[in-house]
């Protein structure tokens, strides 16, 4: 029994072909949308590559770009095929190609689904990457004279200003990092030598943060130095002060930003997947209907279209047998046309067993 059989008159077939032609061109446009979404995500990640450690974060935009390009190609071909399907003579050209085309498109839609799921699953990798990347960026903040790291200070400052965040998890991260370069420290001063000696690694640590952590919404001029030292400032209690510095950590801020982008992209890809699936179903119906018309001989007659000729179980068994028999190519079989020498010995003259 055929799966989901539908009977098509000639006019219905023609209309189906026309509609599929239009839908295929719409799919080309959605393929281009996918491509541009992939490019956008790639550019966004490239912009902040200094804050991410080298990990597999580029796989998602690359996948989206590849899928977008393939979608454009497949749907362009599909549009051409559907355009020719109105005329049975032209359909003969495409007859042999159609089944492989449908199978390829079916696997391609799987790829789309995988792409959409990857968008949602990228979060953990991104978090790891940002944690390591931001930690290193803060460590090298002071190295504005080291080639390769001299713009890290500007990058981190602009990041903290733009994303309204401070440090990795919070502003306290800056207390454990020396963010003032040694060439700006007066090594002869007692205060500096005290601080350097106060920790094992000889780093100049203080409870201060860079100016980019300051929140402009604060009613009070920014307190960046001696942040945890309440008596150092008049009328100040750092545990109650929420508007002075940015409270959010930059890792969380960037993660939220990228997750938001990827969730929107993932949703778009899912919608495009559903659309592609419906176009594929239409093309399958058109293919089977056209083939049946050709089998019947009369191009104007009614024909049936289906998804599968037999039920799922039978089709699966049939295909499984084909695959099994592919392996038997070079083995002996019971074909009477092949001359197989028998194992018993015969006397060629008398025909008797020896």
């Amino acid at each position: 029994m055929a799966v989901l059989k539908v009977t098509f008159t000639k006019t219905k077939r023609d209309k189906l072909a026309q509609v599929l032609w239009i839908l295929n061109w719409v799919s080309v446009v959605t393929g281009m949308i996918l491509l541009s979404l992939g490019l956008f995500l790639k550019v966004e990640i490239q912009q902040r590559r200094e804050l991410m450690s080298d990990r597999e974060v580029h796989s998602v935009p690359n996948m989206l770009i590849a899928v977008g390009l393939i979608a454009c190609g497949i749907n362009f071909l599909g549009g051409k095929i559907c355009y020719d399907c109105v005329d049975t003579a032209k359909f003969l050209r495409w007859k042999l190609l159609m089944l492989p085309y449908i199978i390829c498109t079916f696997f391609f839609t799987f790829l789309l689904l995988v792409g959409a799921l990857m968008c949602y699953c990228m979060r953990n990798e991104l978090e790891e990457s940002l944690f390591v990347g931001l930690r290193d960026a803060m460590r090298y903040y002071k190295d504005t004279d080291t080639p390769g790291r001299c713009f890290l200070k500007r990058t981190v400052d602009m990041l903290q200003i733009q994303f309204q965040c401070c440090g990795n998890d919070g502003f306290q991260d800056w207390f454990y990092v020396q963010w003032i370069g040694n060439r700006y420290l007066d090594m002869s001063s007692a205060e500096v030598t005290d601080r350097l000696r106060s920790n094992v690694e000889g780093k100049y640590l203080m409870d201060s943060v860079p100016f980019s952590c300051c929140n402009p919404s604060s009613p009070r001029p920014c307190i960046q130095q001696q942040v945890t030292n309440n008596p150092a400032h008049f009328n100040y209690d750092y545990q109650e002060e929420e508007l002075n510095l940015w409270m959010r950590g930059c890792r969380q801020a960037l993660l939220e930003y990228y997750t938001h982008i990827m969730q929107s992209i993932g949703l778009t890809v899912l919608i495009i997947w559903l659309f592609e699936l419906s176009v594929l179903t239409g093309v399958r119906y058109l293919q089977t209907a056209m083939e049946n018309v050709l089998r019947q001989g009369d191009p104007d007659s009614e024909s049936d279209g289906w998804l599968l000729e037999n039920s799922f179980a039978e089709t699966a068994r049939y295909n499984f047998n084909i695959i099994k028999n592919l392996g038997k190519c070079y083995q002996v079989d019971d074909d009477p046309n092949i001359d197989v020498p028998s194992t018993a010995q015969h006397d060629p003259q008398t025909g008797e067993h020896l």
Binding site: T144, K153, R154, F211, C214, P216, P219, R220, P221, F234
Partner: protein, 352 residues
């Protein structure tokens, strides 16, 4: 003698009508662009309206919006006129409409030119407005507890960070203003008392600037306090330090930003003006060439088109006479009435 007379054959009339139709649609697009440019400029000016003292500069975007809308109407009608111009039965219904149409169109097109001139000429006005606005902004920076002024601090901080500028003319403007509020100053401290006593107005002045003046490009962590005191910081000389704070004043930054926008808009609107004038001239030629056909049987003859029926001076004189006739209409009647009454009385008196 007609002004700028041109002869039109039937073919050239048809081509003029077709060209005008295309031109009028281009002009509609241009008018929409003018309108949107006006809206954009108004939005940009409104964004930073807190640091501007007056809203006189808003005359430029307002004029652009009005002109854009008017141009849409003008060009829409121009398109309709040229569609009807080739049909002599439909054309006469436009007859009474065309005279006021031309006057209005000319007025709005000239207004476009005025907008262009204003966008270049109002630089001084903008600068003055910004000077006063920024001065007040810096003065009220500390008043985050006074209603009406509590967002000045945030406005100025974000302005300085976005436009990469510091102070009105430069960062030294902050030295002359108390930008730390009294409620954050410890009045029992000797340092605070000294500073307050050191000037006539009793203000707490320091050679420091807010954090928003800090330049992220500096290789060194930002120095905001004791800027002119070289010995307070290691390896620091404020005269040679260029990257520590933003060097530009905010007034200069804002003026150059807005003049940049207005100059580009001015250049665009000038080209729209030229397009609009050509549409009006074409409509006038088409109108005069087609009017000569009215009443004729053969619509394919050659006609003449002109801009004005008589010379400029004569036309102006004629119009002035018409206007003058309408103005003292009561006085003329009263004088005529009095004159006839006197004439009526005079023969009566000699008789009696």
């Amino acid at each position: 003698m007609a002004l700028l007379k041109i002869k039109f054959t039937f073919q050239s009339r048809v081509r003029l009508a077709q060209g005008l139709w295309l031109l009028s649609w281009l002009a509609v697009i241009a008018a929409t662009l003018t309108f949107s440019m006006g809206v954009f400029l108004k939005a940009e000016l409104h964004k930073r309206s807190e640091v501007m003292d007056n809203t006189e500069i808003h005359a430029v975007p307002n004029t652009l919006i009005v002109v854009g809308l008017a141009s849409l109407g003008i060009n829409f009608f121009a398109g309709r006129i040229c569609q009807d111009a080739l049909d002599t039965t439909r054309f006469p219904r436009w007859k009474s409409f065309l005279q006021p149409y031309f006057i209005l169109s000319l007025f709005f097109t000239l207004l476009m030119l005025v907008a262009v001139i204003m966008s270049y000429a109002m630089k001084g006005n903008l600068e003055e407005s910004l000077k006063i606005g920024l001065k007040n902004g810096i003065r009220f920076y500390k008043d985050t507890d006074i209603p009406g002024r509590c967002f000045q601090k945030e406005t100025i901080d974000r302005l300085q960070m976005d436009f990469r500028c510091c102070g009105n003319n430069n960062y030294k403007d902050w030295f002359e203003v108390q930008w730390i509020s009294n409620r954050f100053l410890d009045f029992t401290s000797k340092e605070v008392k000294d500073r307050i006593k050191s000037n006539v107005d009793g203000r707490y002045l320091i050679d420091g600037v807010p954090f928003s003046c800090c330049n992220p490009e500096s290789p060194r962590p930002c120095i905001q306090h004791q800027l002119t005191n070289n010995s307070a910081h290691y390896n620091y000389e404020y005269q040679t330090e260029e990257l520590n704070l933003f060097n530009r004043g905010c007034r200069e930054a804002l003026v150059s930003y807005y003049m940049g926008i207005m100059n580009s808009i001015g250049a665009g609107v000038l080209s729209v003006f030229i397009l609009q004038m050509s549409v009006l001239v074409s409509v006038r030629y088409l109108q005069t060439a087609t009017e000569a056909l009215v009443g004729q049987e053969n619509t394919e003859i050659e006609t003449e088109g002109y801009l004005l029926e008589k010379e400029v001076k004569e036309t102006i004189k004629e119009k002035m006479d018409t206007i003058l006739k309408f103005l003292p209409i009561n006085q003329v009647d009263a004088a005529a009435g009095q004159g006839s009454a006197e004439v009526g009385e005079k023969p009566a008196t000699p008789a009696s």
